[in-house]
Amino acid sequence: MIEGILVEGLIYATMTLGVFITFRILDFPDLTVDGSFPLGAAVMAILASNGVNLIVAVLVAFAAGVLAGMITATIHNKLHVPNLLAGILTMTMLWSINIRVLGNRPNLPLLRQETILTVFTRWLEPLPSEWSLLIFFVLFSLVVKALLDLFFKTDLGLTLGAMGNNQQMVVTQGVNPEALKLIGVGLSNGLVALSGAFVAQYQGFADVNLGQGIIIAGLASVMIGEFLLRTNRIGMLTLRVVLGSIVFRGIMYLGRYYGYYINLTPNDLKLITGVLIIASLIVTQMRKQKRAKSVDLDLDHNPNQPLPEERS
C-alpha cells in the first residue's frame, strides 16, 4: 500500500512541478495541462507500440508537451487572450489531436508492450516489481527536481522567477516578457507530458480522458505542499511540491479504499479534491488576516513596509 502511494505520488510529482511553475512562479494559471498530460501519454504509447526506442519516445513526449505549452503562450501573447482562455483553447484542441495521435481511437493498451518500467523491473529481477518501481521513480523524481533547481538558479531561471511577481521589473531590465512566458509555459507542459508518458507506462494504457481533472489534482498537491514547509529556497520549494503530490495521492488512496466506511464512492474523489483546495484557501486566508492583525498592533511599524510574505 505505502509503496503504491509513493510511486503514484512520485509519478504525478513531475506533473505537479509543471503546475507549480505556471501557477506559482509565472502567475500564469494554465489549463493546457488537462490536454498536455494525455498528449504525453498518447505520444509515448503510440511510439512504444511502433517499436521506437523508449528513451526517444519519452523525449518526444516531453517535446510534444513543450510545443502544446508554447501554443498556449503564443495565443495569449499575440492575440492578447486572457491566459485562462488561451489554456482552455489549447486543451480543447488537444482532445481531438490526442485521438489522432492514438491512431483515431480513444485509448491504446500497452499491456504486453515493453516499456521503460518493464525493462527496469527486469534488471532488478529478484526484487518485487513494486519496490523496483519505487526505486525507479525516486531516482527519476530526484533527477527532474535537481535539473529544475539548477535551472532556477541560472540567470534565465531567476528572471523567470521575478516574472510572476513583478512583470514591470522584468520589462525594465530589457527582457521581453512574451519570450519568458513562452519558455515558462512550454517547460511546464513539457514536465506535465513527461509525467503523462510515465503514467501510461505504469497503468499499461493511454487514454484520451486521462487528463480529466489533472490540473485540479496538481493544484491541490501544490497547496498541500505549502502547508508542509515554509521556505524561500528553490530547492525546498520543489521538494515541498513533490511531498505535496505524495500526500495528495495518499489522501486519494484513503478515499478510494477506506471511503466506503463513510459511504464515499470513487466518484466522490473529485468532490474531495475540490474541498481540499477550498479548505487550503480558507486556511491561507485566515493565516494572512492573523499576520495582518499582528502587524497593525506594532506601533513602530513603518507604514511603507509591506507585510512579510512568503515566496509563492
Partner: protein, 266 residues
Amino acid sequence: MIRLENVSKVFHPGTPNENVAIRQVDLNIAEGDFVTVIGSNGAGKTTLFNLISGTMPSSAGKVFVNDVDVTKHPEYKRAQYIGRIFQDPLLGTASNMMVADNMMICYRKGMKGLRISLNARMRGFFREKLKDLEMGLEHRMDDNVGLLSGGQRQALTLLMMVLSEPSLVLLDEHTAALDPKNAQIVLDLTSKFISDYKLTSMMITHNMSQAIKYGNRLLMMDRGEIILDVSGDEKRNLTVEKLVEKFHEIRKTELENDELMLSETP
C-alpha cells in the same frame, strides 16, 4: 543623447474625451545632464517619461536615443539603455525573491541565458555595493525583498539600476511614496550615484526647492508643453520665488490672450 522631435500624445483621439497630454514637444538632452522636471498634476510629466521609455507609443513625432530612432521599439528593447524608477517602491523589485537574486536579475540588461552567474565572487561584489547604501542590507542578502521597508526597497532599486549602467536614467517621483526621512536618504543617494557614475538623468519632482537644488537643468511643464527650460548660471541662481514668478508671468500673458479671444466672440 536623447532627442525628441515634435512629439505629441493624444488620448482618445476623435472622441468627446480627447485629451492632448503632450503637445509637440522638442527636447534635446546632452550626455551628463541631470534634468529636473516640475509641473502640476496633469501637466504631462509622467506621459513624457512613458513616451521616452516606450511604455506607450507616441501619437506623432520621433524619439532618438544616441541618434538611433527608437520610436517604434517596444518598452523592453528601449529598457536596454534606459533605467527607470517608479514612484511605487514595489515596482522595481521582486518581493518574493532574495535581495541577491534581485541584484543578479538586474545586473545585466537584456535576455538572460542558462549561465549561473550568482556565485561567491558575485555575492561578494554585491555585498560591497550594498555597503554604499549604509542601510545594513549587506547582512540581509538572503532575505526576501518583501521583508524590506519601502525606503530600503527604493534604495536597492536605485543601486541595481545604477549597476546596470544605463545611458539614461528616468526617475518618476521616486521618493514621493516614502516618509520624509527615507525620502531624503534616497534623494541623497540618487544625487551621489548620479555624480559618481556620471549618469544622464531626468527626475520628476513635485517639490520646487528640490528641482532647484538638484541637477544642472530644469524643465517646467504645463498642459503638455515645456514652458520653461533653464540651465547653467540661470538655473544656479534660481529661487522658489523667482520660479513662481516666472510661472505666473508665462501663464498670465496666455490668460490675457484667452480673455481677449473670449471677448472677441459675440
